[in-house]
Symmetry: C2
Subunit: 566 residues, 2 copies
């Protein structure tokens, strides 16, 4: 208390900034902490915007108030946290030599400067804008600021818009798509690349597209927006790269974000190859007195050690906490990196991912095995819902590298479990006998994640050979000489079937009907059932009877994303 | 195929037995596999009985059919799995020298014997019966077999019973209590020991008792059943140890189970100190050709290496799978042990636990730190529900040893995450920055388990000093000289408050009102708010201003299980 108080300046008041400031305060009651925020609001619950827009809740205060109902405004920051918060204030420049920040009040234009002992950059990211002409028309929005959320909520409340275009098929695009559908708006997602949700492997992404279409939204892939069309300055539609024109009174841009690093760049701080601020494990930039956190920084993958960008609210908070501690006690807290976990509600589906997809693992040069499984989250008698998952593990080490899970079931629990397993560098065999909480309201006796580990073990040990639905489809389309065996009951076959030339032999009859199978024991045989559990059991029978090229179509019928005969 | 087929005999057809038999079949198509089952049914979904009794579903077939709707009867086992299943058949003795099992058909009385190369004991456990007289009266049931479930479901369907007694306050007791309440029956749980749900630490158990009482069920602890009272052979009530008589037409015994080891004992197999069959990591008994799995065996704790009993359906399935593989390929699969994970739905609460409670850790002689936190599972604007959790970690290693979680929120996900963390021997710091799936429908930006890790880190590093609600209650009751500070807003205080002599100083006013605090800087000050987050922040302020004995009441008001002023 006898020494001069530390001067901490934080630039950015959304997630990482306020967290860093609050943690710094808890670590040092006497530091002078100033928060500089360009927006009028502080600590906004920005991940909640889609649910406000879609009407999950109507009270806007919930986005900007503390749980006790107090607005998180400068007065709150002053009283509760003794943090001096300047809103509608823009940081203009950083003088690293004299350790000062120059800032400007946006309303008055008044400019001033403030000295720091340690500076925190939490400048976030800004939405990318497509290069297409017309992006400045009225009716072309993004969803980034609270003002954007207000504008999109007004769309719902006013009920004028009948058709909307979402430009970009990532997480935010799908969240906004759902929100607009809930407002009764005909909505189409336009994705320039061949696949939406690039963190998913293609077979799973196809299933999500199918579900989205059942909810009345359309998705166009491999076709970007060439031009925003308008009349009298207002959007009337979009023209796609292939010339198609779609009418729309609203377009929401969600093609990703770019770290806001202009200030850091001007100050000569090191920028990474991914376009974000480079920080070390203490979240320190190349200037040891300047820390950074949130959407403006690059993360290091705990799996591959590669740099990546992960503009997620949870990481912003975690990093902010690390920074808040380190600005007071340098080197006292570490951020170990991320594993690129993400989750998103898409109508009745949840889509979750952690670690590496197969595509990402291959791109990283890793030798991986994958397995796709389908199953219920809880028993049928408890009204269980479907989960479809893909597990990725490294061959050799058998370390779990990634997990994707989609479906109407409880995806979030399974992704959280696998994220924890990846964090702990667990192997497949660690999960094979995991003692997870079991009771019928919460799980099958063998939970979905354990079944995934079992299936992976079976593949790694060569007990099961799998084919993906897309590989089966490709073989069928190419007219390859494959014997396809559906092992379900006749009643199930009558109700739903692929119609790709399959033969039906129910599991219970298989041993008596082996003579109906190809006599050439080297012929490729592909088995499946509803979820390919019976298919797998039947594959073991055929292998035991000498067939040498027996494969299971992973995930079964419910994972088939293509049209069926019935 | 040229060698003689392996002869596998499995005794027990509920969970572990059929799983072992099925896995053995998948591993060896040509083995002769015989399953001996005393009950008329096979592979019953016994964990589902409470939900059938309570009317969550009405179709009894769902308990005994495969997901494709086929009854899991001997014909199904023969056709789908080529397993010879004998039902209503009791194994009478094992001749280890000649490697045969003698068995008796219960209906015909006919006795026979069968040779084995490898034998599997999955004889399960039997419900304990209290010594009290009258336990054989009509109306005194247990919930163990499908016949028991039928009898209890009939109670619901017939609507005659108005009052029921549950003898024993463990998992099954609470599940049956809920089922009977759903049938409109006045239900009282009688627990002989001072605490129900012994796997929980007392403060959490108290909160579950409170919730159960709000659902119209009563709980009496520290008072056993001395006598079952009856007229004309039918139950009319129970008399408790303290003389109280309670009327009831139904009593359900749920005082635990005892491993069914008579057959193994008679065969001279080694029995452990916990009363279960001793097995090694391959699930082999003291006779290397006899394996065992399920409720009849003892488990080894992966945390303490101590033997324990864990009669849970998930472990039975996992162990059965290991056994099924090892009977064909000895030594090919390991069961690494358990961590005593359990979960139970109790009305609107879920109660989950994994690893060691504080009580269990102390009993094991471990030096642990604990922390209790309260919070929502997802944001308030997404209609988040409360979770109250206790984390137990080892001092020094900071390894996570246990986690208890209760409340109306999504408990199962958090327990599954912590079970995975314990399985992977993760430390508190591994969870402090965990990259878990975050989006508002699924989590707060910092998930409850991460907040628990943060709170634990704060305690381990000496930043926070905690008191449990029961310690605070004890101090207040003993008239100790403690200054108690509620840091909420006046409106919150008006709505709900403890009334234990506390002073209200809202967080935002604290720095201006430090003069209202005790001038003796050594005086004990206890702070709290609704969940004790503001309480914790205020404690940091007081510590910075020189108060040396500042403690946070962990979990806050919502974790207070005692009566409040309002």
């Amino acid at each position: 208390m006898s020494s001069e108080p530390l001067k901490i300046v934080v630039i950015g008041g959304s997630a990482a900034g306020p967290k860093a400031a609050a943690k710094a305060r808890r670590t040092d009651e006497f530091a002078e902490i100033t928060l500089i925020q360009r927006d009028p609001d502080l600590s906004m619950a920005s991940c909640g915007y889609p649910y406000y827009i879609g009407g999950t809740f109507d009270d806007r205060n919930l986005l900007v108030c503390s749980p006790a109902g107090v607005p998180r405004d400068p007065k709150f920051f002053d009283k509760a946290k003794r943090i001096h918060a300047l809103v509608r204030t823009e940081a203009v420049s950083i003088d690293r030599e004299h350790k000062t920040v120059t800032y400007r009040h946006l309303d008055s234009g008044h400019q001033d400067s403030i000295a720091y002992d340690r500076l925190v950059l939490a400048t976030g990211a800004a939405p990318l804008r497509p290069a297409a002409p017309g992006a400045d028309l009225e009716g072309v929005l993004a969803l980034h600021s609270l003002a954007d959320a207000d504008a999109l909520r007004a769309v719902r409340d006013q009920g004028q818009v009948t058709r909307a275009i979402i430009v970009g098929g990532g997480l935010i695009g799908f969240e906004v798509c759902e929100a607009l559908r809930l407002a009764g708006i005909e909505t189409t997602i336009i994705e320039k690349t061949p696949q939406v949700l690039p963190f998913l492997d293609p077979d799973l992404a196809r299933l999500v597209v199918n579900h989205t279409r059942t909810q009345g939204a359309d998705i166009i892939t491999g076709n970007g927006v060439a031009e925003f069309l308008g009349e009298e300055g207002r959007l009337t539609g979009v023209k796609l790269d292939n010339g198609t024109e779609l009418p729309a009174q609203l377009a929401v841009i969600s093609v990703g974000v770019r770290p806001s690093i202009a200030l850091a760049q001007a100050a000569g701080l090191e920028i990474g190859e991914q376009g974000g601020l480079l920080v070390n494990e203490f979240m320190q930039t190349s200037d040891p007195d300047i820390y950074a956190a949130g959407d403006c920084v690059e993360c290091t993958s705990m799996i591959t050690q590669a740099q990546n960008r992960a503009p997620y609210g949870d990481l912003a908070n975690l990093q902010g906490r690390v920074v808040g501690q380190n600005v007071i006690e340098p080197g006292s807290a570490r951020f170990p990196g991320n594993i690129q976990t993400g989750i998103c509600k898409i109508f009745d589906y949840t889509v979750g991912v952690t670690g590496l997809s197969a595509s990402a693992a291959h791109a990283a040069g890793l030798d991986v095995e994958t397995v796709l499984i389908s199953g219920l989250d809880i028993p049928m008698f408890m009204h269980g819902q479907l989960l479809i998952s893909k597990l990725v593990a490294e061959r050799g080490s058998e370390r779990i590298l990634g997990f994707q899970c989609i479906g109407p079931g409880d995806v979030s629990k399974r992704v959280a479990v696998m994220a924890t397993a990846i964090t702990g560098k667990l192997t497949v065999s660690d999960m094979v006998n995991a003692d997870l909480p079991y009771a019928p309201p919460y799980s099958l006796a063998l939970d979905h994640v354990i079944v995934a580990a079992h299936a992976m073990e079976n593949k790694l040990k060569g007990r099961m050979h799998g084919l993906s639905v897309s590989e089966v489809k490709r073989k069928v389309d190419a007219g390859e000489d494959v014997f396809i065996l559906d092992t379900r009951n006749p009643e199930e076959f009558e109700e739903m079937r692929l119609g790709i030339g399959e033969t039906l032999i129910p599991q219970g009859a298989l041993r008596d009907r082996l003579n109906e199978l190809p006599q050439d024991k080297d012929k490729e045989i592909v088995l499946y059932c509803k979820i390919s559990l019976r298919g797998y059991e039947c594959a073991a029978i055929l292998q035991a009877h000498g067939w040498r090229n027996v494969k299971v179509m992973e995930g079964g019928l419910v994972a088939w994303p293509y049209p069926r005969e019935k």
